[in-house]
């Protein structure tokens, strides 16, 4: 167990190392002079140069990289070029917002996907199955931003049931906060639920065709007991792993969803930081997202190996 954790943690570090290289090199070839970004249109040449020097922008890139990683390791994400706020506090402010969106869309996705997946797998070939499959297919084919716009058009502009955009902190007013977040959560959750339905269906079909399911019937179990007692648990395991792998795409989805619904979360922070060439924020946000993805995958692996007794945590071969 310990060696498994160590091994995975080691791999995580290697991956993070590569992520940091990608992020750093990306950001540092972005066109746009951060000093100019800070001082703006009315800056003078001298003040620009002084600021560049001050920010270490005149150092060689390798030096800048190590300085950056060194700070990162101490938990220092640097300061926003734009308004000098600590990137870490900026992230801390935005993460709960995106987290709320994430949790709500996951909840919506799971609430839709489990019944839909189970019904379509156990009623294979029926109208139920076709509807669920069609839903899944449409869900994955719907561009997330268009779905968002459609939802705004239908539920906010036309029907006026929901606010078209915006955000209320959950600490301020729980009900309002959930209300504001519902449409974006649906826009984001539908795609995920479609993917989960698809995965659950195929995974469940595979499990339902396996020998031990036949054993279940052979010992006299009824269908319900077989499906829920044996098949669902076994088929959800791969779904968990695959959906963990989907987590990166999901986070990407929050970027555009937040942009459409004007939710001041991590995604919007990221877009703004690209637009304003706010390097430290951009680096911090991307690093955080990658870290979150890697961590989620790690936790899923660990959880998986606990839930599936076949996998020994000694670090089997790949």
């Amino acid at each position: 167990m310990l060696s498994f954790l160590l091994r995975r943690a080691g791999l995580m570090i290697v991956i993070l190392f590569f992520v940091s290289i990608i992020v750093f090199s990306l950001v540092n070839v972005l066109p746009g002079d951060p000093a100019l970004m800070i001082l703006g249109q009315e800056a003078t040449d001298e003040s620009l140069e002084a600021l560049r020097e001050d920010m270490g922008l005149n150092d060689p890139l390798v030096m800048q990289y190590f300085a950056w990683v060194g700070d990162l390791l101490q938990g220092d994400f640097g300061q926003s070029f734009r308004d000098n706020t600590e990137v870490s506090s900026l992230l801390a402010e935005k993460i709960p917002i995106t987290l709320q969106l994430t949790v709500m869309s996951f909840a919506i996705a799971v609430l839709i996907a489990i019944p839909a997946g189970v019904i379509s797998a156990t009623r294979k070939g029926t109208l139920w199955d076709s509807s669920a499959t069609l839903f899944a297919l449409s869900g994955v084919s719907l561009p997330p931003f268009w779905l968002g716009i459609l939802l705004i058009f239908i539920f906010a502009v036309t029907l006026g049931w929901f606010p078209p955009s915006g955000y209320v902190p959950i600490t301020e007013n729980v009900a309002q906060s959930l209300w504001y977040m519902l449409l974006p959560a649906v826009a984001l959750g539908v795609r995920l639920s479609a993917e989960l339905t698809r995965m659950l269906r195929s995974s469940l079909l595979e499990v339902l065709g396996s020998d031990y399911i036949r054993t279940g019937y052979a010992k006299g179990l009824l269908e319900r007991a077989v499906v829920y007692g044996h098949a669902l648990r076994n088929s959800i395991l791969p779904v968990i792993t695959v959906s963990a792998l989907q987590f990166a795409a999901f986070l990407g989805g929050t970027v555009i969803t937040e942009e459409i619904f004007n939710i001041p979360g991590l995604g919007q922070l990221l877009v703004t930081s690209i637009q304003t060439r706010d390097f430290p924020v951009l680096q911090g946000a991307v690093m955080f997202m990658a870290l979150a993805v890697i961590l989620i995958n790690f936790l899923t692996d660990v959880l998986y190996s606990i839930l599936d007794p076949r996998i020994k945590l000694t670090g089997g071969s790949q």
Partner: protein, 523 residues
């Protein structure tokens, strides 16, 4: 066996706990934050709407230190908690601010300011001539690197005559000096706070204004509270908030839904909709800025004057103001808005003259008329650029549109790496601010690379002349030269729109576009 099962269960529990803790930390960040500003959280929930005014801004103000500030949106905030020595009225004429009166010597070199008495800063410090001197010195301090130092650069000497009298000697006559003091260079910060190492004025401003700073949530909103020791008339309401919405549709939606009381900027496409809304009052005022196309005269084909002139006739300014701005803008031919005293009424807005443009192009003899038009990626900019492309392609240009973030556009400007760029100016109270640094050879914003001796001379004379009539004549001439030289294609002067809820009263629309919250009352 049991041991192992137990350890597995334990591990599962641990993991789940870890996940929960992680989640809680996310939420915890917020918890601790609101614990830090407990009364703020209470304010937000307990304030009855009648005691709070919420302003919607088009962008989050990055720097709250007026001496370091460059962004237009920051000036909106400064009207809440800072005051300037001089203020301007609806006609942009100077009126008293922190200086209740002032004298200017005949030669225009000596300015004597008589300051308001009994003014205190939010941190309890007293406002007096020493404080003003401190502020001027702070702005001029090279270590601070204030981008607003140019407004004060000509100061030769300043002296504290008595506690409330402050005298400034200029090296040479500088007509826009007073108007500069109505802007950032005239904002007075608390010397005590500025000296305090603990206080970062960029994030926690301390001034003398009617509202004092309470808290900010970066890239989201700022909160202010009525300053009880304010020397002037106490505002009508207790709480003031600024919320940033970079998305124009969201901004308007929030106004219509009642979450905002007044908004600093709208998309012109929404003008009709807002005007029709019975719950919204819209205030409209001519702007003082100018907008247009900056041509790189160091590059082909714009090194040719005829080509540049052709552009002036190729664009349909009326169509632009109508389609993009829904008539919420005036066609422009010079840097001075029609409402400005510097405006030249003889320069008429020409109709679109395709043939004339084509003739000019022919005369120029330039064959390759392709260029890249660099614009920032906002919906209106995109619409405008597409119109321009269509118009210019008609007469023989080949336009390629490139959308680049505003910051990157600026960067390219400084590098001189562009063909044509969509770049304008929000405008200054004094016409000098719209002309000198933009069109004088090698000045800060003269990215066009153009140079005209006669123009340079006029612009210098205009800023060192005190008499407004003389200056007016100079600017009129300058405008004609600019039209002829055409390093910059003036397209329109954007009108300023301030929509507000119908219960917001007392709005005083100054053409600088700033909302002065203390004037407002809530019904």
């Amino acid at each position: 066996m049991d041991d192992r099962m137990y350890s597995k269960k334990l591990l599962t529990t641990l993991l789940l706990t870890l996940l929960i803790v992680l989640a809680a930390c996310g939420g915890g960040g917020q918890d601790s934050e609101s614990a830090g500003g407990e009364d703020e959280a209470e304010d937000l929930t307990n304030n009855d709407a009648e005691d709070t005014l919420v302003v919607g801004l088009d962008d989050d103000p990055p720097l709250l230190d007026p001496h370091l500030s460059t962004a237009q949106v920051e000036s909106q905030i400064f009207k809440a908690n800072y005051e300037t020595l001089i203020n301007v009225d609806e006609n942009l004429d100077p009126i008293p601010g922190l200086a209740k009166d002032w004298d200017v010597s005949e030669d225009g070199l000596t300015y004597t300011f008589y300051l308001q008495e009994g003014v205190t800063f939010h941190d309890g410090a007293d406002f007096n001539a020493e404080a003003v001197k401190y502020n001027f010195e702070r702005i001029l301090d090279e270590d601070l690197g204030s981008p607003n130092a140019s407004d004060l650069r000509l100061i030769e000497e300043m002296s504290v005559e008595d506690e409330y009298t402050f005298v400034v000697e200029l090296e040479e006559t500088f007509a826009p000096f007073l108007s500069g003091l109505s802007h950032r260079a005239g904002q007075i910060v608390s010397p005590k706070a500025a000296e305090d190492e603990e206080i970062d004025l960029s994030n926690e401003p301390v001034g003398t204004g009617p509202f004092q700073f309470v808290d900010r949530t970066a890239q989201s909103h700022l909160e202010f509270e009525r300053f009880d020791d304010y020397w002037g008339e106490s505002p009508d309401y207790k709480y003031l908030e600024y919320h940033a919405f970079s998305n124009e549709d969201t901004r308007i939606t929030n106004l219509v839904s009642g979450d905002l009381d007044i908004v600093n900027r709208i998309a012109h496409k929404d003008i009709e909709q807002l005007e029709e809304n019975p719950e919204i009052n819209m205030s409209e005022e001519d702007g003082i800025g100018f907008q247009g196309l900056m041509l790189n005269t160091d590059r082909e084909p714009f090194d040719n004057q005829k080509v540049r002139q052709a552009m002036n006739y190729a664009v349909d300014r009326d169509a632009i103001t109508e389609v993009v701005f829904h008539n919420g803008a005036e066609p422009a031919v010079s840097p001075f808005a029609p409402s400005s005293w510097a405006n030249n009424p003889d320069l008429e807005v020409p109709d679109r003259e395709v043939e004339k443009a084509q003739e000019l192009l022919e005369e120029s003899g330039v064959e390759d008329l392709s260029f890249t038009l660099t614009v920032s990626p906002s919906p209106a900019e995109q619409q405008l650029s597409e119109m321009l492309k269509s118009m210019l392609d008609d007469v023989g240009f080949e336009v390629e549109i490139e959308q680049v973030e505003f910051g990157a556009i600026l960067d390219r400007m400084y590098e001189g790496d562009y063909d044509v760029a969509r770049l304008g100016w929000s405008g200054r109270v004094d016409p000098d601010g719209n002309a000198y640094s933009w069109f004088h050879t090698d000045e800060t914003y003269n990215f066009t690379g153009s140079s005209n001796e006669q123009l340079d001379e006029l612009l210098v004379d205009a800023r060192t002349t005190v008499d407004q009539n003389e200056r007016q004549e100079m600017y009129r001439q300058a405008a004609e030269i600019l039209w002829d030289e055409a390093p910059y294609i003036f397209l329109y002067h954007e009108n300023d729109y301030k929509p507000m809820k119908d219960n917001v009263q007392g709005f005083n629309h100054v053409p600088d576009g700033l909302i002065r919250p203390a004037d407002l009352t809530l019904e």
